[in-house]
């Protein structure tokens, strides 16, 4: 499934390969770097490193692979969509006037089910690859799909019927690809999303959006889990992480390092 270009490095001789394979198929498996099967590689992570982005994060694995993610949100005009076909008959002229029967629906301001997939845009920059190469396109499609799967993120980008947030997620891979970069990128994106904040909305309903310029009053894109909710709801609100899991013989191993 993975593009072939990501698996071509680190050629191993047949003898090395068979040694690796047999040591990994033991029970318990022995990994060349001495980790237990479910252990992750050691890493350094920081968040909120950039002032000019809504959210940012940097993750650095011990083997030197490093990625930076910046998240920027911009207000964008939504495309006018007639809801439930009610407006089709009235000519669609009075866009700004909400109907009375729709008032309670706007009142909850959650934007339940109103988000669109196009509101999240992701781009991945890997040195040595062009933007339209197979690997970056594949990775961004995979990460975006995981991000939008719950459907809650895009609903939170809803401002009112005329405006929405457009979320730009830019991923920079700073080092050349030693291992398959998906877990690193996913982890960095996860941290950046957790740290990203949107300014607090001051205007109401369908007015032109007006925001509080006090950054301290801003809301986190993924609301912080307070101590009241149960564990399951707190966890449901977090951005996804994609992990690489490989299977060798009977054993399932987390986060393979250089063995693809």
């Amino acid at each position: 499934m993975a593009p072939a270009s990501s698996t071509q490095f680190l050629p191993l001789s047949p003898a090395e390969l068979s040694y690796l394979h047999s040591s990994l198929s033991l029970s318990p498996p022995i990994r060349p770097d001495g980790r237990t099967p479910t252990q992750f590689r050691p890493l350094i992570a920081e968040t909120d490193i950039l002032a000019s982005a809504n959210g940012s994060a940097r993750v650095c694995f011990a083997d030197g692979t490093e990625a930076v993610v910046g998240i920027k949100a911009e207000v964008e005009k939504s495309q006018w969509q007639p809801e439930h076909g009610v407006h089709l008959g009235t000519g669609g002229g009075d866009v700004g006037i909400p109907d009375e029967d729709e008032e309670p629906e706007n009142g909850n301001a959650d934007g339940e089910g109103k988000g669109e997939n196009a509101w999240v845009e992701m781009s991945i920059d890997i040195p040595g690859f062009r933007d339209d190469d197979q690997l970056p396109v594949f990775l961004s499609a995979m990460l975006t799909e995981a991000l939008l799967a719950s459907g809650k993120l895009k609903d939170r980008l809803y401002i009112n019927r005329r405006f929405h947030w457009k979320l730009y997620i830019d991923i920079l891979l700073l080092s050349s690809t030693f291992s398959y970069p998906l877990p690193l990128l996913s982890l960095t994106t996860h941290l950046a999303l957790l740290s990203s904040r949107l300014p607090r909305l001051k205007s109401e309903l369908d007015e032109d959006p007006l925001f509080d310029d006090d950054w301290d009053a801003s809301n986190f894109l993924y609301p912080l889990a307070s101590n009241t909710p149960t564990k399951s709801t707190a966890r449901a609100d977090r951005p996804p992480i994609t992990l690489l899991v490989i299977a060798v013989g009977q054993n399932i191993i987390f986060d393979p390092s250089k063995r693809s």
Binding site: A51, S52, D63, G64, E66, D170, L172, S176
Partner: protein, 247 residues
């Protein structure tokens, strides 16, 4: 967005509270990335640049036969989130290409390229955040990364910008412009070789009266020497740490 520079003559303080000859905070680290041959991270105010060096290694296009000297290749990528508005710059962007060219020519003449025949040094720069003095920050970051990679070069190449206030009567040069000032005032970027007065890079893209250039250049060269002091301190601190920790 027009910027009101008229208040400058009243208190002689700039928008961010600096005087005419003050640099912004420069913070730099080297050896930030273990996987690269050399790497650095540099902040000049709110301009943040990461640089990694690969090489000297066998080039991708050896058939071209660059001959007895190594080639210097520079890749600059400006992140979409680096500015105030999100704007994606492609690789074919004219400004980026010009900066790449400037860095390539500058470092080709400063590095001892004759020591590495038939090889290539690749400098990769990522601009994470930009707020003025972008070319200067790229040059400084590249210098640090090349030092970290241990590639012999004749001296530090330190760069800095200088501008000139537009008032008719008070024609004063300013050191190290930030993004807002850069939009409004004529400015030049100068890169100076070490402690000498040798100017290796000079870039002036805005229109300015020719009498003012000399003053601006003098201030920029002076600023470059102060930048050199800061970069030198970073390199020495790193060297001391390496000796102590035995890394």
């Amino acid at each position: 967005m027009p910027l009101d520079t008229s208040t400058y003559s009243l208190a002689l303080l700039r928008l961010d509270g600096r005087r005419w000859n003050e640099l912004r905070r420069i913070h730099a680290q080297i050896s930030t990335q273990a996987a690269a041959d050399g790497s650095s991270y540099l902040e000049m105010g709110n301009t943040k640049v990461i640089c990694t060096v690969t090489g000297p290694a066998e080039g991708r296009r050896t058939a071209q036969g660059a001959g007895q000297e190594c080639r210097v290749e520079v890749e600059i990528s400006v992140a979409g989130f680096s500015g105030v508005e999100r704007k994606r710059r492609g690789r074919a962007d004219k400004r980026t290409q010009e900066m790449q060219h400037t860095l390539t020519t500058a470092f080709s003449s400063i590095l001892f390229t004759h020591l590495y025949p038939h090889s290539t040094i690749i400098l990769t720069l990522h601009v994470l955040s930009q707020d003025g003095s972008l070319l200067a920050a790229c040059l400084n970051a590249a210098t640090l990364a090349l030092i970290d990679a241990g590639i012999p070069m004749s001296d530090y190449l330190c760069a800095c910008t200088a501008g000139s206030t537009a008032n008719e009567d008070t024609d004063e040069p300013l050191l190290d412009l930030n993004g807002l000032e850069e939009q409004e005032l004529p400015f030049l970027t100068a890169g100076v070789l070490g402690d000498s007065d040798k100017v290796a890079v000079l870039m002036l893209e805005t229109r300015v009266r020719v009498e003012r250039v000399e003053g601006m250049l003098a201030v920029a060269v002076d600023g470059c020497k102060r930048v050199r002091g800061i970069l030198d301190a970073v390199v020495r601190a790193h060297g001391r740490r390496m000796v102590e920790e035995g890394v």
